[in-house]
């Protein structure tokens, strides 16, 4: 197990290095000039040239790459070329909203998705199953921003129950923090609930048709014991895989959700940085995200051993 984890950690570093090279080259070859954006739309070409020179954007690419790579290895992620603020400082300001939104979305999605899936499988073919199937199809198909604006209209503008937008740090109190996250979490969770519910239902249906389930029923096992002790545990591996994979989708969903609800998270930071060609921010965020993705997949792989004792590394 220890060797396996070590190998995976090494592979994570290799992946991050490859992402770094790829992102650096992609950004430099993509059209766009940060100096022109900084100077403003009506700036003269002379002013833009001066800023480009000052920022070192005229230097050869290998020189720029080496400078950046060496700084990264030394733990210096650089500074925003617009605000001049350190990238890590900008990231730390944006991390809490994104992490809060992601964790709440995961909790809500997994609990509701798995519950709906189990319920649908248990009542397969019935009205609950059909209703949940319709919900899953619609929930997975409707874009997050449509759900978002729908929720804003009913719960923020019409009823004034919840705020339209914004974020309150948890340090300001759990109440305000939660109130500002209810709508974004609900909007972002819908497709994940639908996705997890469908996978859970399919996986549970397969397990429920196994001989040992019939044996358990014949032995007089309660519905609770059959569903949760016998079926869910055996259906758990594909569900866990989906939960792990959904992280990548969650990142893309977070970007949209943060925009719709004006949540100041990492997603919006990246989108703004891409629009303004703020290279240090884009590079750092993508490298860190790729590392996180590798680590989450590692955690999922390790979690398999808890569900299925036959799996060994």
């Amino acid at each position: 197990m220890g060797i396996y984890i070590f190998r995976r950690m090494v592979s994570a570093i290799v992946v991050m290095a490859m992402v770094g090279v790829f992102v650096f080259l992609l950004l430099r070859f993509a059209p766009g000039d940060p100096a022109a954006i900084i100077a403003g739309d009506n700036a003269t070409p002379q002013m833009i040239a001066g800023i480009r020179e000052r920022l070192g954007l005229n230097k050869p690419l290998p020189v720029q790459f080496m400078h950046w790579a060496l700084s990264m290895l030394g733990g210096d992620f650089g500074s925003s070329i617009f605000t001049g603020r350190p990238v890590l400082q900008l990231l730390s300001q944006r991390l809490e909203p994104t992490v809060s939104l992601s964790i709440l979305t995961w909790i809500l999605s997994v609990t509701m998705g798995v519950s709906f899936g189990i319920l649908a499988a248990w009542r397969a073919g019935g009205s609950i199953d059909r209703a949940l199937t319709v919900f899953a199809a619609v929930g997975f198909s409707v874009p997050v921003f449509v759900v978002g604006y729908f929720l804003v209209y009913f719960f923020a503008i019409s009823t004034r129950w919840l705020p339209v937008q914004g974020y309150q740090p948890i340090a300001n109190g759990v109440g305000p923090w939660l109130v500002h996250l209810i709508l974004p979490t609900a909007a972002l969770s819908v497709p994940f609930i639908a996705f997890i519910a469908r996978i859970t239902r399919a996986s549970m249906l397969e397990v429920l048709s196994e001989d040992y389930m019939r044996t358990a029923a014949a032995k007089g096992a309660s519905p609770y014991a059959m569903l949760f002790h016998h079926a869910l545990k055996n259906a758990g591996v594909p569900i866990l895989t989906v939960v792990g994979l959904s992280f990548a989708y969650l990142i893309s969903g977070v970007v949209l959700t943060e925009t719709v609800f004006n949540v100041p998270g990492v997603g919006r930071l990246v989108v703004d940085a891409i629009n303004s060609r703020d290279y240090p921010i884009i590079q750092s965020v993508l490298i860190l995200t790729s590392g996180l993705y590798v680590l989450i997949n590692l955690a999922v792989d390790l979690a398999y051993t808890l569900i299925d004792p036959r799996i060994r590394y």
């Binding site: 766009g32 000039d33 700036a43 923020a156 705020p163 719709v260 303004s276």
Partner: protein, 534 residues
């Protein structure tokens, strides 16, 4: 597993209680804070107003810095930081004395040395270069007095010091201003009516200002950007809300007080809400313009440029960029509609609907042989997308091989600097806009520079026009300038430096809650003093 009706009832009660919790918490939030104004403004990415001409940066400068002179509502320069000033009989030496009570946010006094360093730094930008060309010496005489000596008289010196075009002359501390204009100042310490609240800055999200308690406003009443800058609120929080729909919903819900530049297609929604008001603060608005590439085919031929002049149907363009006729009208003068120099010299090309047949004939006379005409299209701005589609359609109607090249602002801003042919990544035309008010000063208006390779994108060149433009700063009376303006416009429309698409008033507009008043109605910049919230 049986679900009882009693369980369902309990579930309903629990859900009801959970849903009402937020409304309870809102009810406990207390009354509206009239000392804090929340605005949705463009993101403040660059802090130094000498480093960037971006509107957000210049507006930031208006809040935290002060200016030597400021324009009143009639666009006349009035002393702001300056107390007394005078000019020598030969009009070559100006002496300025700072008024009492000026101090930096860090508590130190503003000195003449700060002003001298700031003017010199400003002189490195496009807005200040003319002064630096004419200046023989800029130096301090004592802590409160400095002089500007000129090689030859400059008629509009105080007007230039108060300019709103490009980089405004904001006075910074000497130690900040003692660096090149291409190196950003990020200390944000000014002497203006607001202090920048560094603790509340979240780049890309929000920034905030606090009232500068030590600021001493002039005694004169507020008049345009001149007069007393009286601050009536303690805090101003500026938010960057990425989605305009969300911003409007927040405005309707009272979470914010005003949105700058709401999208035109939401005007009807705003106007139907009794709590909301649309207020045009920039009555001059912007002039939309087509920049033609004078260096490459087909627009390196004057006939092709004249063809564009006849082809453009300003009403058709205005229908997509300002669908409500209250907020848009044609513009035929290169000096805009709102300036004293607006005139009708050589504007016979204009006719509602354009003249496509004449345009087609002129393209033929230009020897146009089906070359690709590439139209740069900023896809992040709806009005540009729509207007360039209209232009492309008009060109195709007369047989021109027009091709739209959509891209985000980053790619667009890089490509428009390419002077090469379209086959090498160049371009033929793009749409832009600039303040109508700024067109009244041809030495500051980037569109009205026809110096060729050193001109703004499109690089128009006309020596005769440039010779007249060079005379502009030396002319002191409006009547003489009006005469010069007619001569310049006559030349411009002959060689067709660019194409005007219409004047729009939607760019300098606030959608605000009725409870927030006091916006200063001036072009180009947003002033945050004078606001009042009830």
């Amino acid at each position: 597993m049986t679900i009882l009706r009693r369980d369902l009832f309990k579930l309903g009660l629990a859900a009801g209680a959970a849903l009402s919790l937020p409304s309870i918490s809102r009810a406990q939030a207390g009354p509206v804070d009239v000392q804090t104004v929340r605005l949705v403004l463009a993101d403040l990415q660059v802090y130094d107003p000498m480093f960037s001409v971006g509107a957000a940066t210049q507006n930031h400068g208006m809040a935290i810095y002060d200016t030597l002179f400021a324009l009143d509502s009639k666009f006349m320069p009035q002393p702001q930081m300056v107390g007394r000033w005078g000019v020598s009989d030969d009009k070559r030496t100006y002496t300025f004395e700072l008024r009492d009570g000026l101090g930096w946010h860090d508590g130190t006094p503003v000195t003449a040395a700060d002003c001298v360093a700031s003017i010199r730094r400003w002189g490195q930008t496009g807005s200040g270069e003319l002064l630096m060309e004419r200046a023989k010496d800029i130096s301090k005489k004592d802590d409160k007095t400095f002089t500007i000596s000129l090689k030859e008289p400059l008629g509009a010196l105080t007007e230039r010091l108060a300019t709103l075009a490009g980089n405004c002359l904001f006075i910074m501390r000497e130690k900040d201003a003692d660096r090149p204009a291409t190196e950003q100042v990020t200390t944000n310490i000014g002497s203006g009516p607001f202090k920048f609240n560094e603790a509340l800055v979240k780049p890309g999200v929000s920034f905030a200002y606090d009232r500068n308690e030590r600021y001493v406003p002039r005694r004169e009443p507020s008049d345009g950007f001149a007069g007393g800058k009286v601050v009536n609120v303690d805090h101003i929080i500026c938010e960057n809300i990425g989605s305009q729909q969300t911003a409007l919903a927040a405005l309707q819900a009272g979470e914010i007080d005003a949105i700058y530049g709401p999208p035109v297609d939401l005007y009807s929604v705003i106007e139907s809400d009794p709590n909301l008001v649309i207020q045009v603060i920039d009555k001059a608005g912007d002039d939309a313009c087509l920049r033609l590439n004078h260096l490459q085919k087909p627009f390196n031929n004057v006939k092709a440029r004249q063809a564009m002049l006849h082809l453009i149907d300003q009403e058709a363009v205005l229908r997509v960029i300002a669908p409500d006729s209250r907020y848009g009208r044609p513009v035929t003068s290169i000096f805009g509609n709102s300036t004293p120099y607006s005139n009708d010299e050589k504007t016979d090309w204009y006719q509602p609907g354009g003249d496509p047949e004449r345009a087609k004939q002129l393209f033929q006379e230009a020897g146009y042989a089906g070359e690709k005409v590439v139209i740069l299209q900023r896809s992040d701005t709806a009005v540009v997308v729509n207007a360039t589609q209209v232009v492309a359609a008009k060109l195709r109607e007369i047989g021109v091989n027009a091709e739209l090249a959509p891209s985000d602002y980053g790619a667009y801003s890089k490509r428009r600097a390419n002077k090469g042919p379209v086959e090498d990544g160049g371009w033929s035309l793009f749409m832009s806009s600039d303040s109508d008010y700024v067109q009244g000063d041809p030495t500051a208006a980037i569109y009205l520079n026809a110096s060729g390779e050193n001109a703004w994108y499109g690089w128009p060149k006309n020596d005769e026009f440039e010779a007249l433009r060079a005379k502009w700063p030396d002319i002191e009376t409006i009547d003489h300038r009006k005469a010069l303006a007619r001569q310049m416009q006559s030349i411009w429309w002959d060689f067709v430096g660019d194409i005007r698409l219409g004047q729009v008033l939607t760019t300098g507009t606030f959608a605000r809650r009725a409870a927030l008043t006091g916006f200063i109605e001036m072009p180009q910049r947003v002033a945050l003093w004078n606001l009042q919230k009830v």
